[in-house]
């Protein structure tokens, strides 16, 4: 079913259909993926580790004669592996939840959006190694305090995924992707070491913005060498696009219909139409945006990807849906589903900005502002410091105290607050939006957040 050239959709479908008929299964669907990746790491000019992998996996979902659903995953795409998966899914269907039975997506055979993501030629591991060596050498030469780039990597991959079901749906996609990360460590005598880094993603390794990645990694490291402790207190805060999008992402259960139905979201079924944020905020989930390198035309249930408005003029407009949650809310699936016995729902790529025809009334500009504020560049440990079910967060960050236009790097500090308060305390969204690997956003100004420092 998987060849050296990838998945064979029609062979998979034929094998599954034959096995399903034998087992008396009339409804089934399948998600499959395979990838061919390689990556390199270097250490002060030497190749540190060179890696490659060929992976394949399938997830089979079946409906038994009582209509209950079971699922099994396997990496074994041989006939024996498929049989094991199908039989396993059939056995697991005995434990299917009768109160939450997923169906095929009603959009699984709808037309797919056009994605302009041409496949890029992969260069292979030795050219990647040479490129990364040069990038590391360039970075190390930029400042005497930078002596290592402890975390670095250059990778490229070709991946294929497909969805098919017993109702005749067949979705296939193929994409190439490349990434470069450079995370440097700098140290000056008598001072604590500092670190900073940058990431670039692209469709292929040849098109990566390597110079930009080096510049950003250097800037993010060297600019923090002259750090000072910050006094604990309440500050106006300006988040960089990347930092604010990471915070929004950590609280994405607000927009997640699955979480709403499970009672673990801050939102409720009736929250649509309620005010969630300041009246000039707009938030979309746009998995089709040209800046989204990992864009896929369909989700785990075969539903087409789309641009979905989540917040407009501060009002919650819609949730992210799978087939099952959409049915529960009497709407259409939105293309945000995984594939499972209990289907997960997740965001794709956020586009945050000012609602059309709106303004905050402020003209704050983080590069010119004279009043004191904290500029947060990067938030850490979101997995530990975010309580999504409660709305609260307490997170270490990298950033600056900005006083009279002068930037002073902040030694170890945390920022704490409540996401609902943050969304309603946004003072201003700057005009320039930046494309990050998480989405698009401008710098976001928030009033009065608690900062804990060591001063």
């Amino acid at each position: 079913m998987a060849t050296n050239n990838g998945l064979n959709a029609s062979a998979l479908r034929d094998s599954l259909q034959k096995l399903a008929t034998r087992e008396g299964i009339s409804s089934w669907d399948l998600g499959a993926a395979c990838s061919d990746d390689c990556s390199v790491q270097v250490d002060r000019g030497e190749a540190k580790q060179l890696k490659a992998s060929q992976r394949s996996s399938i997830t089979v979902r079946v409906w038994n004669k009582d209509g209950l659903v079971g699922i099994t995953s396997t990496t074994d795409l041989s006939d024996a592996g498929l049989e094991q998966a199908l039989v396993g899914a059939h056995e697991a269907s005995r434990f299917g939840n009768p109160d939450d039975i997923p169906h095929f997506s009603p959009l699984a055979k709808a037309p797919l959006p056009e994605l302009n993501r041409p496949l890029q030629e992969r260069r292979g591991i030795l050219p990647l190694l040479e490129t990364l060596r040069e990038a590391e050498a360039d970075l190390l030469s930029r400042h005497p305090s930078i002596q290592t780039v402890p975390y670095n990597g250059l990778a490229e991959s070709l991946s294929q995924s497909l969805y098919l079901n017993s109702d005749g749906a067949l979705r296939e996609m193929e994409r190439t992707q490349a990434s470069l990360y450079l995370y440097a460590r700098a140290e000056e005598a008598g001072r604590k070491p500092r670190s900073g880094g940058a990431l670039r993603v692209g469709l292929g390794s040849a098109g990566l913005d390597i110079a930009g990645c080096i510049d950003e990694a250097v800037d993010r490291t060297v600019s923090h060498l002259a750090y000072q402790p910050i006094e604990t207190g309440t500050y106006n805060v300006c988040f960089t696009p990347e930092a604010f999008l990471s915070l929004i992402g950590a609280f994405s259960s607000i927009f997640n219909a699955r979480s709403v139905l499970d009672g673990v979201s801050l939102s409720k079924r009736e929250s649509i139409g309620e005010t969630l944020a300041v009246p000039f905020l707009s938030l979309h989930d746009d998995g089709l945006h040209p800046g989204h390198i990992s864009a896929a035309p369909f989700d785990g249930e075969g539903t087409p990807t789309k641009n979905l408005c989540l917040i407009n003029r501060g009002i919650l407009k819609s949730f992210l849906h799978s087939e099952a949650t959409a049915r529960a809310f009497d709407v259409q699936p939105t293309g945000h589903a995984g594939l499972g016995a209990k289907v997960s729902v997740g965001p794709d790529w956020f586009v945050l900005g000012t609602s059309e025809g709106c303004s905050s009334g402020n003209t704050l500009d983080q590069s010119n502002e004279k009043d004191t504020f904290v500029l947060i560049e990067d938030l850490s440990a979101l997995h530990a410091g975010v309580k999504a079910t409660q709305g609260s967060f307490s997170l270490p960050f990298d950033g600056w105290l900005v006083k009279g236009g002068e930037r002073i790097s902040v030694e170890a500090a945390t920022v704490a607050g409540d996401i609902r308060t943050v969304l309603n305390s946004i003072l201003h969204l700057e005009s320039n939006c930046e494309v990050t690997h998480r989405g698009i956003s401008p710098h976001v100004w928030v009033e009065g957040l608690s900062i804990t420092g060591e001063a």
Partner: protein, 470 residues
């Protein structure tokens, strides 16, 4: 080739290793793996998800000089493994030459050391899906019976069975079967605008009937008590203060603040401040810390590591003085620190790296109440959340359940605390250790993926640390 890993694989593995050695590799290692996983989720009074999965694959690693090439594949046929090996060799500029020989680089595999020989029936002795589901529903029912204001009740069970076979051109040839099971209960309590979410997870290794021994009532009571206490807790006042950390999962502080920095991967990267500190005082003299893979049933215990080496008891710090590092094959090669049976990986898709196993601060002479009595105003961390450490030794971790200490006594519960600090600065501040050492199961994510570990400690006192909050 047979699906069961056994001596039947020896000829093929020797052919592969001979091919790699003949091409000029210093060392070739093949890691074969089969897994059988199931996850079960109960929500409220229903089983809402049963997720079985199966996997098999191989990781092939080739060393040449200080470098290594690693290739993973799901294809365990001779052709698939040979293709992967050749790719790994090519990464290091090595080519298979039919005229070359492996000289003395490979002299055949040793006799198979089969750590799994007594474990072959473990999978069949694990709870059936029916009995696992019943146990979880007992758990969510018990939460309903004793809990208050519970909006969400969940129970989850995970069983990971893994069979591995390791062969290397230094003669290593070893097989093992591993079994990790974990069970957890979690709740979301809500009352008006007040919310608290609490979860506890329990884990074991090598105990097929562990789920049946699980004390549902005790676990549910612990979760409900914590959720009830934290429901109306105030946010902690931020600042610098002394902190007393409870035993068991409190050990995450040592894991994050120091343990990761004692892995040889950190020396290789130049990211540990302790690289040249063996024999030096790096912690308070009250601190002795150990990493081992031997404690019976503990989540981080192993019969052999993922490079075929039997684990050791490694004293990392004794009376505050750094004794040694946690090392794997690559760590020994690149840093000179001898292997400690700590080469670990999530799966065949990762190259092994030096990783912690069961890591804990040893018991001290004090009673927990002595630690509290020594604090005028500070924070007691009864339950810890996750944490992380960065490339400069800056660590952080969240406090799930905290209490103020005032005049040596616990007073009101507080939430929203995050502890941050610098490893080099905080280790000398662990000034008191109690006599109540306990271990707790956890997961650790790092360079070679997510692995099963144990953290542990007795109650300890840190004289001063930054507590982030509101």
């Amino acid at each position: 080739m047979t699906d069961v890993f056994s001596n039947h694989w020896k000829d093929l593995l020797e052919t592969l290793l001979n091919r790699g050695a003949g091409a000029g590799a210093d060392l070739v290692e093949v890691f074969l793996e089969r897994t059988n996983h199931v996850g079960v989720l109960a929500e409220q009074d229903q089983i809402t998800s049963v997720n079985p999965s199966f996997a098999k694959g191989a990781g092939l690693r080739v060393f040449r000089g200080g470098r290594d090439g690693f290739v993973s594949t799901n294809d365990l046929t001779q052709d698939g493994l040979t293709r992967a090996l050749d790719q790994a060799l090519a990464m290091l500029g090595l080519e298979v030459n039919s005229l070359s020989s492996s000289d003395d680089r490979f002299n055949g595999l040793d006799s198979l050391i089969d750590h799994g020989v007594t474990k072959n029936d473990w999978l069949s002795r694990c709870p059936t899906l029916v009995s696992a589901s019943q146990r979880l529903l007992e758990g969510t029912n018990e939460l309903e019976r004793i809990g208050q204001h519970l909006q969400v009740r969940r129970g989850s069970y995970s069983r990971d069975w893994q069979e591995v076979l390791v062969a290397a051109s230094d003669g290593t040839f070893a097989r093992d079967i591993r079994l990790h099971q974990s069970t957890g209960l979690s709740v979301l309590a809500a009352d008006g605008d007040h919310r608290s979410s609490v979860g506890r997870r329990y884990g074991s290794t090598d105990r097929p009937d562990d789920l049946l021994q699980w004390n549902v009532q005790t676990s549910a009571a612990e979760v409900c008590e914590s959720a009830g206490t934290m429901l109306r807790a105030d946010y902690v006042d931020a600042g610098q203060m002394p902190v007393v950390l409870a035993n068991r999962f409190g050990g995450v502080i040592f894991h994050e603040a120091c343990g990761h920095l004692l892995e040889t991967t950190q020396i290789e990267r130049g990211t540990t401040p302790f690289a040249d500190q063996v024999g030096s005082l790096i912690a308070h003299p009250s601190v002795t810390a150990v990493d081992e893979g031997l404690s019976g049933g503990a989540f981080g215990s192993l019969s052999m590591d993922d490079e075929g080496m039997e684990p050791q008891r490694t004293v990392l710090i004794k009376d505050g003085i750094l004794q040694r590092f946690i090392s794997d094959r690559a760590g020994e090669l690149r840093t000179g620190h001898q292997r400690t049976g700590s080469g670990r990986r999530q799966s065949h898709a990762f190259a092994a790296a030096s990783r912690m196993r069961n890591t804990f601060i040893a018991a001290g002479p004090h009673k927990p109440k002595d630690l509290l009595a020594s604090v005028d105003r500070g924070l007691y961390c009864k339950a810890m959340g996750g944490g992380s450490v960065g490339p400069t030794g800056q660590f952080n971790f969240s406090v799930e359940e905290g209490y103020l200490i005032e005049n040596g006594e616990l007073t009101k519960p507080v939430k929203g605390a995050t502890l941050i600090g610098d490893a080099k600065e905080v280790m000398p501040r662990i000034s008191m250790c109690a006599d109540d050492l306990e271990l707790a199961a956890g997961f650790c994510g790092s360079v070679s993926g997510s692995i099963f570990v144990t953290v542990g400690q007795p109650h300890i006192k840190v004289d001063s640390i930054t507590v982030g909050g509101r």
